[in-house]
Protein backbone atom coordinates (compact mmCIF):
# COMPACT_ATOMS: atom_id res chain seq x y z
CA UNK A 1 0.00 0.00 0.00
CA UNK A 2 1.53 3.32 -1.04
CA UNK A 3 1.94 5.97 1.61
CA UNK A 4 -0.39 8.35 -0.19
CA UNK A 5 -3.25 5.84 0.20
CA UNK A 6 -3.19 5.95 3.99
CA UNK A 7 -6.20 7.96 5.18
CA UNK A 8 -4.27 10.77 6.86
CA UNK A 9 -1.93 11.25 3.92
CA UNK A 10 -4.67 11.12 1.32
CA UNK A 11 -6.65 13.67 3.31
CA UNK A 12 -3.65 15.96 3.58
CA UNK A 13 -2.95 15.49 -0.10
CA UNK A 14 -6.50 16.58 -0.97
CA UNK A 15 -6.14 19.56 1.33
CA UNK A 16 -2.84 20.57 -0.29
CA UNK A 17 -4.37 20.26 -3.77
CA UNK A 18 -7.27 22.42 -2.65
CA UNK A 19 -4.93 25.14 -1.37
CA UNK A 20 -2.92 24.95 -4.58
CA UNK A 21 -6.06 25.44 -6.67
CA UNK A 22 -7.25 28.26 -4.44
CA UNK A 23 -3.88 30.01 -4.70
CA UNK A 24 -4.25 29.94 -8.49
CA UNK A 25 -7.70 31.56 -8.33
CA UNK A 26 -6.47 34.20 -5.86
CA UNK A 27 -3.53 35.02 -8.15
CA UNK A 28 -6.03 35.51 -10.99
CA UNK A 29 -8.06 37.89 -8.83
CA UNK A 30 -5.02 39.94 -7.84
CA UNK A 31 -3.63 40.06 -11.40
CA UNK A 32 -6.99 41.36 -12.67
CA UNK A 33 -7.44 43.87 -9.85
CA UNK A 34 -7.66 46.76 -12.35
CA UNK A 35 -9.54 45.10 -15.21
CA UNK A 36 -13.00 46.58 -15.80
CA UNK A 37 -15.98 44.27 -15.24
CA UNK A 38 -13.91 41.58 -13.56
CA UNK A 39 -15.49 39.65 -10.70
CA UNK A 40 -13.28 37.68 -8.30
CA UNK A 41 -13.65 33.93 -7.79
CA UNK A 42 -13.00 31.65 -4.85
CA UNK A 43 -13.53 28.01 -3.90
CA UNK A 44 -16.09 26.75 -1.41
CA UNK A 45 -14.38 25.65 1.83
CA UNK A 46 -12.93 22.18 1.66
CA UNK A 47 -15.20 19.45 2.99
CA UNK A 48 -13.14 16.30 3.30
CA UNK A 49 -16.22 14.10 3.76
CA UNK A 50 -17.35 14.91 0.25
CA UNK A 51 -14.07 15.02 -1.62
CA UNK A 52 -12.36 12.01 -0.07
CA UNK A 53 -12.40 9.11 -2.47
CA UNK A 54 -14.29 6.22 -0.96
CA UNK A 55 -11.81 3.48 -0.24
CA UNK A 56 -13.08 0.25 1.13
CA UNK A 57 -16.06 1.98 2.69
CA UNK A 58 -19.66 1.45 1.76
CA UNK A 59 -21.03 4.21 -0.43
CA UNK A 60 -23.88 4.58 -2.85
CA UNK A 61 -23.03 3.96 -6.48
CA UNK A 62 -23.15 7.04 -8.68
CA UNK A 63 -24.94 5.99 -11.85
CA UNK A 64 -25.61 9.51 -13.05
CA UNK A 65 -23.25 12.49 -13.18
CA UNK A 66 -26.02 14.61 -11.65
CA UNK A 67 -25.88 12.70 -8.36
CA UNK A 68 -24.73 14.55 -5.27
CA UNK A 69 -21.04 14.18 -4.58
CA UNK A 70 -19.85 14.46 -8.13
CA UNK A 71 -18.03 17.63 -9.12
CA UNK A 72 -20.07 19.74 -11.52
CA UNK A 73 -18.51 20.99 -14.71
CA UNK A 74 -16.97 24.44 -14.89
CA UNK A 75 -15.10 24.31 -11.62
CA UNK A 76 -11.64 22.88 -11.06
CA UNK A 77 -11.59 19.10 -10.75
CA UNK A 78 -12.99 17.99 -7.43
CA UNK A 79 -13.35 21.47 -5.93
CA UNK A 80 -16.35 23.67 -6.44
CA UNK A 81 -16.40 27.40 -7.09
CA UNK A 82 -18.11 29.52 -4.49
CA UNK A 83 -21.15 30.97 -6.24
CA UNK A 84 -22.36 32.92 -3.23
CA UNK A 85 -19.36 35.21 -2.96
CA UNK A 86 -20.41 38.73 -1.96
CA UNK A 87 -18.39 41.67 -3.23
CA UNK A 88 -18.69 45.36 -3.93
CA UNK A 89 -18.15 46.65 -7.44
CA UNK A 90 -16.32 49.88 -8.14
CA UNK A 91 -17.66 52.27 -10.82
CA UNK A 92 -15.51 50.50 -13.42
CA UNK A 93 -17.38 47.25 -12.74
CA UNK A 94 -14.34 45.67 -11.13
CA UNK A 95 -15.10 43.93 -7.86
CA UNK A 96 -11.66 42.87 -6.61
CA UNK A 97 -10.72 44.17 -3.18
CA UNK A 98 -6.94 43.90 -2.94
CA UNK A 99 -6.98 43.89 0.87
CA UNK A 100 -9.41 40.97 1.01
CA UNK A 101 -7.43 39.05 -1.58
CA UNK A 102 -4.15 39.60 0.27
CA UNK A 103 -5.75 38.34 3.49
CA UNK A 104 -6.99 35.25 1.68
CA UNK A 105 -3.57 34.65 0.12
CA UNK A 106 -1.92 34.87 3.54
CA UNK A 107 -4.41 32.56 5.25
CA UNK A 108 -4.22 30.12 2.34
CA UNK A 109 -0.44 29.94 2.68
CA UNK A 110 -0.69 29.44 6.45
CA UNK A 111 -3.18 26.59 6.09
CA UNK A 112 -1.01 25.02 3.41
CA UNK A 113 1.97 25.23 5.74
CA UNK A 114 -0.05 23.54 8.46
CA UNK A 115 -0.91 20.71 6.07
CA UNK A 116 2.71 20.18 4.99
CA UNK A 117 3.81 20.25 8.64
CA UNK A 118 1.24 17.59 9.47
CA UNK A 119 2.40 15.55 6.48
CA UNK A 120 5.99 15.75 7.73
CA UNK A 121 4.83 14.71 11.21
CA UNK A 122 2.97 11.77 9.73
CA UNK A 123 6.10 10.60 7.95
CA UNK A 124 8.08 10.96 11.18
CA UNK A 125 5.45 8.84 12.91
CA UNK A 126 5.94 6.07 10.35
CA UNK A 127 9.68 6.27 10.81
CA UNK A 128 9.23 5.91 14.56
CA UNK A 129 7.05 2.87 14.00
CA UNK A 130 9.79 1.39 11.84
CA UNK A 131 12.27 1.99 14.63
CA UNK A 132 14.42 4.44 12.70
CA UNK A 133 13.18 7.70 14.26
Amino acid sequence: MPISDMPIFSMLRTKMLWHQERQRLLAENVANADTPKFTPRDLVPLNLDQTRAPQGSVTLVRTNPGHIGDSPGGGPPGFRLDRKLDFESRPSGNAVGLEDEMLKVASNAMDYQAATALYTRGLALIKTALGRG
Partner: protein
Amino acid sequence: MDFLKTIAIAASGLRAQSGRMRVLSENIANADSTAPRPDADPFRRRIPTFSTSFDRALDARVVALGKIKTDSSQFRVKYEPGHPSADANGNVKYPNVNPLIEMSDMRDAQRSYEANVNVIGVTRRMIQRTLDILKA
Protein backbone atom coordinates in the same frame (compact mmCIF):
# COMPACT_ATOMS: atom_id res chain seq x y z
CA MET B 1 2.96 22.04 -11.48
CA ASP B 2 0.13 24.33 -10.51
CA PHE B 3 2.20 26.64 -8.34
CA LEU B 4 4.28 27.64 -11.33
CA LYS B 5 1.04 28.52 -13.15
CA THR B 6 0.11 30.70 -10.18
CA ILE B 7 3.42 32.52 -10.51
CA ALA B 8 2.88 32.95 -14.26
CA ILE B 9 -0.56 34.51 -13.64
CA ALA B 10 0.90 36.95 -11.11
CA ALA B 11 3.71 37.72 -13.59
CA SER B 12 1.10 38.68 -16.20
CA GLY B 13 -0.21 41.19 -13.64
CA LEU B 14 3.30 42.55 -13.12
CA ARG B 15 3.79 43.00 -16.87
CA ALA B 16 0.46 44.80 -17.28
CA GLN B 17 1.09 47.12 -14.32
CA SER B 18 4.60 48.01 -15.44
CA GLY B 19 3.23 48.75 -18.94
CA ARG B 20 0.68 51.04 -17.29
CA MET B 21 3.48 52.83 -15.42
CA ARG B 22 5.36 53.27 -18.69
CA VAL B 23 2.38 55.07 -20.27
CA LEU B 24 1.88 57.19 -17.14
CA SER B 25 5.53 58.21 -17.08
CA GLU B 26 5.24 59.23 -20.76
CA ASN B 27 2.36 61.50 -19.77
CA ILE B 28 4.27 63.05 -16.87
CA ALA B 29 7.43 63.53 -18.93
CA ASN B 30 5.45 65.28 -21.67
CA ALA B 31 3.31 67.40 -19.34
CA ASP B 32 4.75 70.59 -20.86
CA SER B 33 5.51 69.48 -24.44
CA THR B 34 4.07 72.17 -26.66
CA ALA B 35 3.46 71.79 -30.39
CA PRO B 36 6.37 72.50 -32.77
CA ARG B 37 4.21 74.85 -34.89
CA PRO B 38 1.44 77.28 -33.90
CA ASP B 39 -1.25 75.35 -35.83
CA ALA B 40 -0.30 71.85 -34.55
CA ASP B 41 -1.61 70.09 -31.43
CA PRO B 42 0.64 69.51 -28.43
CA PHE B 43 1.14 66.12 -26.75
CA ARG B 44 -2.18 64.43 -26.04
CA ARG B 45 -2.56 62.49 -22.79
CA ARG B 46 -2.62 58.70 -23.25
CA ILE B 47 -4.71 56.31 -21.16
CA PRO B 48 -3.67 52.67 -20.60
CA THR B 49 -6.43 50.03 -20.53
CA PHE B 50 -6.47 46.47 -19.25
CA SER B 51 -8.08 43.42 -20.76
CA THR B 52 -8.59 39.91 -19.42
CA SER B 53 -7.81 37.02 -21.72
CA PHE B 54 -8.13 33.30 -21.18
CA ASP B 55 -4.74 31.61 -21.47
CA ARG B 56 -5.26 28.03 -22.65
CA ALA B 57 -1.80 26.83 -21.67
CA LEU B 58 -2.22 28.16 -18.13
CA ASP B 59 -5.97 27.38 -17.97
CA ALA B 60 -6.48 30.76 -16.30
CA ARG B 61 -7.71 34.29 -16.88
CA VAL B 62 -4.54 36.36 -17.25
CA VAL B 63 -4.38 40.12 -17.66
CA ALA B 64 -2.69 42.09 -20.42
CA LEU B 65 -2.29 45.73 -21.35
CA GLY B 66 -5.04 46.53 -23.86
CA LYS B 67 -5.19 49.33 -26.40
CA ILE B 68 -3.65 52.60 -25.31
CA LYS B 69 -6.29 55.26 -25.93
CA THR B 70 -5.93 59.02 -26.12
CA ASP B 71 -7.66 61.51 -23.87
CA SER B 72 -9.99 63.68 -25.98
CA SER B 73 -10.42 66.42 -23.38
CA GLN B 74 -9.52 70.09 -23.98
CA PHE B 75 -5.92 71.29 -24.00
CA ARG B 76 -4.77 73.79 -21.42
CA VAL B 77 -4.41 77.24 -22.98
CA LYS B 78 -2.01 79.88 -21.68
CA TYR B 79 -1.50 83.44 -22.89
CA GLU B 80 2.18 83.72 -23.89
CA PRO B 81 2.57 86.03 -26.90
CA GLY B 82 6.34 85.58 -27.10
CA HIS B 83 6.19 81.79 -27.28
CA PRO B 84 7.30 80.25 -30.62
CA SER B 85 4.12 78.07 -30.71
CA ALA B 86 1.73 80.96 -29.90
CA ASP B 87 -1.17 81.50 -32.32
CA ALA B 88 -2.32 84.88 -33.69
CA ASN B 89 -4.00 85.79 -30.37
CA GLY B 90 -0.89 84.94 -28.37
CA ASN B 91 -2.37 81.73 -26.90
CA VAL B 92 -0.28 78.58 -26.48
CA LYS B 93 -1.86 75.11 -26.22
CA TYR B 94 -0.36 72.90 -23.51
CA PRO B 95 -0.99 69.12 -23.15
CA ASN B 96 -4.16 68.00 -21.32
CA VAL B 97 -2.01 66.30 -18.67
CA ASN B 98 -2.62 66.93 -14.98
CA PRO B 99 0.48 65.69 -13.11
CA LEU B 100 -1.56 65.28 -9.92
CA ILE B 101 -3.90 62.75 -11.58
CA GLU B 102 -0.96 60.93 -13.15
CA MET B 103 0.82 60.67 -9.80
CA SER B 104 -2.23 59.26 -8.02
CA ASP B 105 -2.71 56.79 -10.86
CA MET B 106 0.96 55.86 -10.49
CA ARG B 107 0.38 55.14 -6.79
CA ASP B 108 -2.53 52.90 -7.71
CA ALA B 109 -0.36 51.01 -10.21
CA GLN B 110 2.36 50.65 -7.60
CA ARG B 111 -0.10 49.20 -5.10
CA SER B 112 -1.36 46.62 -7.60
CA TYR B 113 2.21 45.78 -8.59
CA GLU B 114 3.16 45.16 -4.97
CA ALA B 115 0.13 42.93 -4.48
CA ASN B 116 1.26 40.75 -7.39
CA VAL B 117 4.81 40.62 -6.04
CA ASN B 118 3.36 39.55 -2.71
CA VAL B 119 1.42 36.69 -4.36
CA ILE B 120 4.62 35.48 -6.04
CA GLY B 121 6.49 35.60 -2.72
CA VAL B 122 3.79 33.65 -0.87
CA THR B 123 3.58 31.05 -3.65
CA ARG B 124 7.35 30.60 -3.58
CA ARG B 125 7.17 29.96 0.14
CA MET B 126 4.43 27.36 -0.44
CA ILE B 127 6.67 25.56 -2.96
CA GLN B 128 9.45 25.68 -0.38
CA ARG B 129 7.19 24.07 2.23
CA THR B 130 6.35 21.28 -0.23
CA LEU B 131 10.02 20.60 -0.81
CA ASP B 132 10.61 20.60 2.94
CA ILE B 133 8.55 17.39 3.15
CA LEU B 134 11.40 15.66 1.35
CA LYS B 135 13.87 16.76 3.98
CA ALA B 136 11.88 15.22 6.82
